[in-house]
Symmetry: C2
Subunit: 486 residues, 2 copies
């Protein structure tokens, strides 16, 4: 096998999406598998981690603008804390990794490696909140959590340890908690749409698929090109269950002691999996310019006699773009030819390639090539910066349009169980269909096709009482379906 073939992607996205995905992640140098004995863990390489840093930069800015403060809580949680909220125990107990020894000694009480931190954060919020003046209290932490699920590793999508942010807030009343829940859902949607070039669908999870202990779990769902839905992030209105379990109360304006309402919300590196899966192709990784470590790569093309002038021109272009704030890389390696460089940077997902040869130098031009579709344009040197910025915007728009088209084409209506199963069996994607709210009806479908209820409509105006009652009676949006189609 030649070095070129080794470098390139050999699997096809359409026919072997799983193998193709694994190959893109490895060859674009995003992540590696952890050592033997550590199935389910991955090593996040710099090119992968920089995508996570983009997530952090954006969310941290938006969180800060909306009153959230970052903090850091212990990695471990005592077993009896985890047990205080009964739904949490039931939900997470089978997946917890346990620390039993410190040094040479066995611990008196074993410690859970956090699977999520409600159980250690809520008791501190309870200490810190005394009066209504301390509310709302909004905390967030960036950390990793561990959930010991026995599934095949799929980098970013399915890993036993994953990076995420978890936000935890407390409010005076249901209205405050519900507004918070939706504010975070909005921010997650904004991350997907304005940073990842991915349209998403908003909704609520059906009751039997909520976060343990939550009143309502809201979700943004992204449709993958293979017709499967990915839960992009969730924002939970926890009602008063955690506040009651951990005595999170406050004295209101009339000095009456009341139980707070809490929320929690999280986005994990699964978002990176969805990003990679959505835009990439058989040439490798495709990234929107918003998150690409290099937005532009310059590949100079020279012969012995033109080398000096081409490299000088290229260096000037690179300097000008860098000055303008563009993340640009000049690939002036001697030991590689331009074709090799094209392949390598396509594989690594650089959104825009600038080709510069003797002709470009002579004419004061630059040839620009879009990563997603190979569209090639000639740009005048005089308008370099504005043209490059326009090209980057165009690349973003192309990626968004393709993803949007995929979503629009794959939301279908269905009016009977047969139609649901036929539609999903043939096309994947979502089916929009009425559902009564009974899990049993979903089971009947699940048994026949690999599909489940992804979301029910979110009645965002419903603040008082159980706003989800309406949703149950309204039509449901599913990756799959159910049988209550009237």
């Amino acid at each position: 096998m030649s070095e070129d073939q080794e470098l390139g992607i050999t699997e096809q996205k359409e026919y072997n999406p799983g193998e193709w995905y694994a190959e893109v992640v490895e060859k674009a140098e995003l992540a590696s598998y952890a050592p033997e004995g550590m199935g389910g863990f991955i090593v996040t390489r710099p090119r992968g981690y920089s995508l996570w840093e983009s997530v952090q930069d954006n969310l941290d800015r938006w969180f800060d603008e909306t009153g959230v403060e970052n903090a850091y809580f212990p990695l471990f949680i005592p077993e009896d804390y985890l047990e205080r909220e009964k739904d949490v125990v039931e939900g997470f107990d089978p997946e917890v990794a346990w620390v039993t020894h410190g040094g040479h000694d066995e611990l008196e009480e074993r410690l859970a490696v956090r699977p999520t931190s409600e159980s250690i954060i809520a008791p501190y919020m309870a200490q810190w909140v005394r009066s209504h003046r301390d509310l709302p209290l909004r905390l967030n932490q960036w950390c990793s959590v561990v959930r010991w699920e026995a599934t095949e590793t799929k980098p970013f999508f399915r890993t036993k340890e994953f990076l995420w942010q978890e936000g935890h807030t407390a409010h005076e009343d249901e209205a405050g908690a519900w507004e918070e829940t939706l504010t975070r859902l909005d921010q997650y949607q904004r991350l997907y749409e304005d940073v990842f070039a991915m349209p998403v669908m908003r909704g609520a999870k059906p009751d039997h698929d909520k976060f343990p202990g939550a009143d309502t779990t809201t979700t943004v769902e992204a449709l993958m090109p293979d017709g499967k839905s990915v839960q992009g992030a969730t924002s939970h209105n926890l009602g008063q269950s955690f506040a009651e379990a951990f005595d999170l109360t406050f004295s209101d304006e009339d000095e009456v002691e009341r139980v707070a309402h809490t929320t929690s919300w999280g986005l994990s590196w699964r978002a990176l999996g969805a990003l990679i899966m959505t835009h990439s192709d058989d040439q490798g990784l495709v990234l929107p310019p918003t998150v690409a470590p290099e937005q532009v790569v310059i590949v100079p093309i020279w012969q012995e006699d033109t080398k000096e002038s081409v490299l000088q021109y290229s260096a000037e272009i690179a300097a000008e773009l860098e000055e303008a704030g563009v993340r640009v890389h000049l690939d002036d390696r001697d030991e590689r030819n331009p074709g090799f460089k094209y392949n390598e940077w396509e594989l690594k997902g650089v959104p825009l390639r600038l080709e510069i040869g003797p002709n470009e130098v002579a004419d004061g031009e630059i040839t620009a090539v879009h990563r997603p579709d190979g569209e090639q344009t000639t740009t005048a040197r005089d308008t370099l910066v504005e043209d490059v910025e326009a090209h980057l915007d165009e690349v973003y728009a192309k990626l968004y349009a393709t993803a949007e088209e995929n979503l629009e084409e794959n939301v279908r209506e269905a009016d009977s169980p047969e139609e649901i199963m036929g539609t999903i069996g043939q096309h994947g994607g979502y089916v929009r269909t009425p559902w009564c709210g009974d899990e049993a009806c979903e089971e009947a479908i699940k048994e026949k096709v690999h599909a489940e209820i992804v979301a029910v409509p979110l009645d965002e105006s419903a603040v008082e009482g159980d706003h989800r009652d309406n949703a149950h009676r309204a039509e449901a949006v599913h990756e799959p379906g159910d049988e209550c189609t009237v």
Copy 2:
């Protein structure tokens, strides 16, 4: 006890530095102790975490400028990986927390919660490095590590879990590794001196106190007001020991396979402990403006009839400062009087207080008060922004000068074991004295006074061979002393 007394610091720094420190950390809302059963763990509250974010912002920028890329490696390390470098096993084995169960199942091989990550990073560097063109390779990760030391908890100074960054690099030769070691030491020194307003002392650790497996451990040491030295950060030249243990080799320009040289370097949240301990006083936390969450607090002083004009003037001042990029907070709470507010913001370490009453409004002035010494100045509204910036610079300079004076006064010469012990017993601080390099000579001193060798001089030009040979024969700088004073 009145609410005011509860708020304020009751211990004195000079007489009970340990209790005073714990009180400052708690009352300035920097950190809380973890739940029962989790001795040694702390909860880092937003005001504490924001200090850590300042560290991250600065170091990340400097690391990036000097070729370092961030990555993320697994939280756990298989036991057999940890065992591959023998010094590391011996050094860390007694302090490792072990995960033995995942969900309901016992693991086949127990996993160490990382105490440091050389053992999991080096094998991946070995995979990624093929040729000299892949070198230098510079990785860093921000994470927490766990070391099960059975000591009393002291927030930031002594905790079983701590936040840090750990850098790991590979180089072609000893010169590259040594230059890297010093580059990071420079950056740590810069953090202390230019961001934390703390002078530090550079040096190397004696052989018996090096990082396990290292050729040389370099350190920046900060002298606390109580006369004790804090190891502020360390940068290790690991030589070839890890590269050999993990087969980290590369083919050089002549296609000859060679073993790489590696380094590692880390700064933990102990730096925050040193920062808090150095500048704070009996009124509470003192922070340099570089890291303070609020650089300026505005306290308006009104009566019923002046309230509107004072608050409006104050709001204009706040807006103007914010516009200029100053982190400013206007404390316009109705329910607290100005005296209470002064105390609270002094306790929380805001570097500059602006007092605005009817006189200030009438005269178009502002009264500015420096946190460290209470110095009070009247400033004209016209020159608000430049004056405030000058005040913040002055506060920084005052803090640095005090810390520098403490350091200069507390480095003493000693010429005999008696003199070392007498000097340290009386003053604490450092003693500069010759030392032969033998650990036994340190032990003899250690038995008599609670003191040890903090650092030996660093011969920074010595790249080839064992540059530490000279240091052994040169005079040594100690917190304490030894007996080889000729």
